[in-house]
């Protein structure tokens, strides 16, 4: 189902992930979050930006476990746990945050 962002129509797959990674801009995350009735805070953006940096470097979306460990290491132990991440992204930090970040669904994520 396509989404409307800043007057552009962007293609998404059946689960709502962007089809073309290059289509991403911050407004994409805002539009997706709005559909989920979620207000994005700085804490959300910290994770979204982290995911984009990880993808840029390794060309994959990290598994949730890897994300949790990496966040703990880079952003502090109090953030590197499922409770914190699920608090921000109730549909699952892997799935939901990766979708907002314009990345594909993490490998091995069902």
């Amino acid at each position: 189902m396509p989404i409307e962002v800043n007057g552009k129509t962007l293609e998404t797959d059946e689960e709502g992930y962007l089809v073309n990674l290059d289509d991403w801009e911050p407004a994409v995350a805002e539009v997706m979050a709005k559909e989920d009735d979620l207000e994005l805070t700085d804490e959300h953006w910290e994770i979204i930006n982290f995911l984009r940096e990880y993808y840029e470097e390794y060309q994959i979306a990290p598994a949730v476990r890897v994300l949790t460990k990496a966040v703990g290491k880079r952003l502090g132990k109090e953030k590197g746990n499922s409770k914190y991440l699920y608090g921000l992204f109730p549909y699952g930090p892997g799935k939901q945050a990766c979708r907002y970040a314009g990345l594909p669904k993490p490998t091995g994520c069902v």
Binding site: E57, Y58, P62, A63, K73
Partner: protein, 135 residues
């Protein structure tokens, strides 16, 4: 944990020409979730997967070589490269990627888990594995 199985992924194909290298990488990423002891071995044309400087912009395929660098985060503790295969292709360890590893709890680190080994050592490692996945 004593009930951990030793998984060995045996990679023998070059990247891009066939789908084997990418498929193997995907399975390795998934296998990490099962918390087993995962090792990778690169033999024959498989050694080409680890060569640095890959640039697929001209062939319209995804360059997945940067992904190997994160394997240490996916519970991969050992990456073995067959010395004979490297030598017969005019390659040395300097042509290969560096894959760091870190234990997130103890903060023990290894700068590079890529290790060039001879045939005798590799035969031993393969025999010692509980399961060998061939790609």
């Amino acid at each position: 944990m004593s009930d951990k199985k030793q998984f060995m992924f045996l990679n023998r194909r070059a990247p891009y020409g066939t789908i084997y290298a990418w498929e193997s990488l995907e399975v390795v990423l998934i296998a990490a979730a099962f918390e087993q002891a995962v090792s990778l071995a690169f033999v024959d044309d498989g050694v080409y997967q680890l060569v640095t400087g890959q640039d697929t912009s001209g062939i319209g395929m995804k360059n997945f070589s940067p992904t190997y660098k994160t394997l240490g985060d996916y519970e991969v503790r050992h990456i073995y490269v067959d010395k004979d295969s490297l030598e017969s292709r005019g390659l040395t360890q300097d042509d290969l990627q560096v894959v760091p590893w870190e234990d997130w709890e103890t903060e023990e680190t290894v700068d590079n888990i890529v290790e060039v080994v001879d045939s005798a050592k590799l035969a031993e490692l393969l025999e010692a594995s509980d399961v060998v996945f061939s790609f």
